[in-house]
């Protein structure tokens, strides 16, 4: 195993708990995107470019966007509830 591979493993291993430790969902959506990029780099370093390509798009674009849109919907729903009260 090369130093680059060990480094990538450490970054991913340390990054995953960090994403969980961020408690604000909006910030978490961004953190998960950055973490996904690190994971894609890991796949690339371990010579799996096909997987890395899917990982980049799914984790940096598709997933954070869905989380953000879901949060927007929840927030709007809460505002409507408050207006009613």
């Amino acid at each position: 195993m090369t130093a680059l591979q060990i480094g990538a493993l450490i970054v991913v291993g340390a990054g995953a708990p960090l994403v969980v430790l961020v408690r604000d969902p909006v910030r978490q959506a961004f953190c998960v995107g950055v973490f996904g990029t690190a994971l894609a780099l890991l796949f690339f370093i371990f010579q799996a470019p096909d997987v890395a390509l899917s990982q980049i798009v799914v984790s940096t674009v598709a997933l954070p966007l869905m989380i953000l849109l879901a949060l927007a919907k929840i927030r709007e729903h809460e505002e409507e509830e408050e207006e009613r009260e």
Partner: protein, 248 residues
């Protein structure tokens, strides 16, 4: 259940899991020492057998194309499920998408300019990844998501209406269905012309050239359209819920 009991239960379970993980990792083959026969076999015979220089694509769309079809329909069914769950229900109304009524705040002019400048290049990148799956890393799935992202960038640039024009709901739905059906038809073609479902029934051509690998580029194109449609439909459903659908 009190706190101390819960923590005790967690610590016991965690210790057990850690022990089993350590034991399992100890039995793994050494790093870089692949013990199975299939990888080595495909490495030696794959290029001659399929003319694809990207052997990952060769495996996905030729050797185990049947599995890939199953995966494709998992995506299809999953997006269908989202569309059903997020449909407009009774007691909900849609705001006028073209009017000023929707809640979308738009974006800054810097983000708008950057987004609109990126739409074209990202689209070309997606088309490249879809069509060159047999030669270089990538293929229908990866390229399809990039293609969907190209339309999404227009949305992020603050052009919600333009997003709806680039990716109208009916076209996205039709694309998703046609792509899924197209891939299944490639398999059926193998059954008709070569006697086996998903047999590669088109001339293989020279390895490394654009028009090579028989049915693999056609499968990639079908999957690319399906995946782009699936992701766009997914994002449309989510963004409509967040921006357009309101309770009465």
């Amino acid at each position: 259940m009190n706190r101390r009991l819960r923590i005790g239960l967690f610590l016991g379970g965690a210790a057990l899991l850690a022990g089993m993980l350590v034991a399992a990792v100890g039995d793994l083959p050494g790093f870089g020492h692949y013990p199975g026969p299939y990888g080595i076999l495909i490495e030696e015979t794959g290029v001659a057998g399929t003319s694809a220089t990207d052997l990952v694509t060769a495996v996905n769309f030729d050797y185990r194309a049947f599995d890939t079809m199953g995966e494709e329909f998992i995506l299809f069914a999953a997006v269908l499920g989202v569309a059903i769950v997020l449909r407009r229900r009774r007691g909900e109304r849609a705001e006028d998408e073209r009017g000023d009524d929707h809640h979308f705040p738009g974006s800054s002019s810097a983000l708008g300019a950057l987004g609109l400048a990126l739409v074209g290049p990202v689209f070309v990148l997606g088309a490249y990844v879809v069509t060159h799956g047999q030669i270089t890393p990538g293929g229908g799935f990866q390229g399809g998501v990039v293609l969907a992202a190209a339309a999404l960038i227009a949305f992020l640039a603050g052009e919600y209406v333009a997003f709806k024009v680039i990716a109208p709901h009916a076209m996205v739905e039709a694309g998703e269905a046609a792509g899924a059906a197209g891939f299944a038809l490639v398999g059926l073609g193998g059954l008709i012309f070569a006697g086996t479902f998903f047999a590669n029934f088109i001339a293989l051509g020279t390895p490394g050239s654009f028009l090579s690998s028989g049915t693999i580029p056609i499968s990639n194109l079908a999957v690319g359209i399906e995946v782009a449609g699936a992701f766009l439909l997914l994002w449309t459903e989510f963004s409509d819920q967040a921006l357009v659908v309101r309770s009465k």
